[in-house]
Symmetry: C2
Amino acid sequence: MEIRVRRTGMLRVAALPALANGFLPRFAGHFLTERPNLNFALVGVISPIVIDWVVNLQCDLGFAEAPMAHSGLPTIRMPVLPRVAIMPEGHRLCSKTVLRPRDFECETFISLTPGSVSRYLIDDVFAKHSVRRDLRIETTLSEIMCGMVSSGLGVSICDPFTAREFVSRGVVSKRFVPHIDFEFAAVFPPQRGPSAVAEEFVAAFAEHVRANAEGDATF
Amino acid sequence: MEIRVRRTGMLRVAALPALANGFLPRFAGHFLTERPNLNFALVGVISPIVIDWVVNLQCDLGFAEAPMAHSGLPTIRMPVLPRVAIMPEGHRLCSKTVLRPRDFECETFISLTPGSVSRYLIDDVFAKHSVRRDLRIETTLSEIMCGMVSSGLGVSICDPFTAREFVSRGVVSKRFVPHIDFEFAAVFPPQRGPSAVAEEFVAAFAEHVRANAEGDATF
C-alpha cells in the first residue's frame, strides 16, 4: 500500500544540544501529531552551527544560546530559566534545598569546555565567591556532564533542560543561588519573513517552556 | 584551600553521539573515580569529526561508527550489537517480542538524515522486504529520534545504546530481525602509539559493553 497524503509544508528546525537531547524532540512530537501533513526535520548542533544553518537557509528556524555572536538576525527571546546544581543520587549535597557556591568547595566539578558561554558564567561566579573546585574533568556537552555526574564522579552546574532529562538516570537537581540564567532564542533566516508554521512552533514552544517551569523550583 | 594533587596524565576522548549521550560518560565516570590523578576530557561529536580530532591530535582516542571513511588509522573493533526497534509505551507493537520489517507497514517512521550509514542500512532492509513506511520526519541524532518516539509520534530502528537511555523516558525497545548491526571502533592517532591509559580505557570499555549486552536481548 502506498502512502499518499497531502503535505501542507515543510519545517526544518536546528536546535542547540540542551534542547535537542529530549525536551524539544518530545515537544516536536506532540506538535507533529496534531499536524499529520507537515514534513519535519530536526537537526541537533551546537549554537554557532545553528546560526550558520539558519543564515544559509538550511533551516527555517533555529534555537541557539544567547547572547549570539551573529547580530542582525530576526530573533525571538525565549523564557529565561536559571541553571541548576546537579549531583549524583546519595551525594552529601542532596540534603540541601538550595545550593550556594561555598557548597562546592573542594568538590570534583565537571566543567564544560573553556570558551563556552556556560563555562565563563559559571567560573565567574565561583571566582567571585573565592571557591576552589577540583577541575580535572572537561566535556563539550551538558549531557556528557550529566552522565558523568550520575556515575558518582562529581558535581556540576547545568542547564535546566538537560538536568531534567537525567532525573530518571541518577542525577539530582537543586536550586542554585546566585542565579546563573540559561538564555536562548529562536532565530529566523534574515532573507525572508518566518513561515506561519515556524512562528506557530516558536509560540507554542515558548508556552510549553513556561508551563513546565511553573511549579518546578529546579526548572 | 588550594587543590594540589599529583596528576598522572591526561586522556582526551572523542565519541560519537550514540555513546556520548549517556552510556560512555557513565563508564568514564567510574573509570575516573578509580584514577583520581588523571585529567580527562570527553568530546561528543559525529563520527567524521571524531576521526578529524584523532588525526589532528586533538584527542588521544576516538570512538567512531564503522566502517570508517578514513583508512590507515590504528583501530580496535568494539563488540558488535544489533540495532533495536523502538516504539512509544502503549503502542500496538509493544505486545510483540520480536519485530520484523512487515510490522512497520504504514507506520510513521522517524528516520536519520539521508547520507548516514544508519539510514542506508535501515532503508535497505525495508526496501528488500517491500515495506512502505510513512517517512515525513527526519533528524540528525538518534537521541532526537528517541525523544520524538517517546511523544507517541512514531516508531524507528535505533542503536542499542541510545535506545537504552530512553527506557526510563517513555521508549520501549524490542529485538528486530533481520539484525542490523551497530558497529563502532576505537581509533588512535596514526603519528604515535596509543598511551597506556588510552589502551586501558578501550579494553575496559569493550569489556563493559560485552557485560551489558549479556542477558539483555535488546542490547
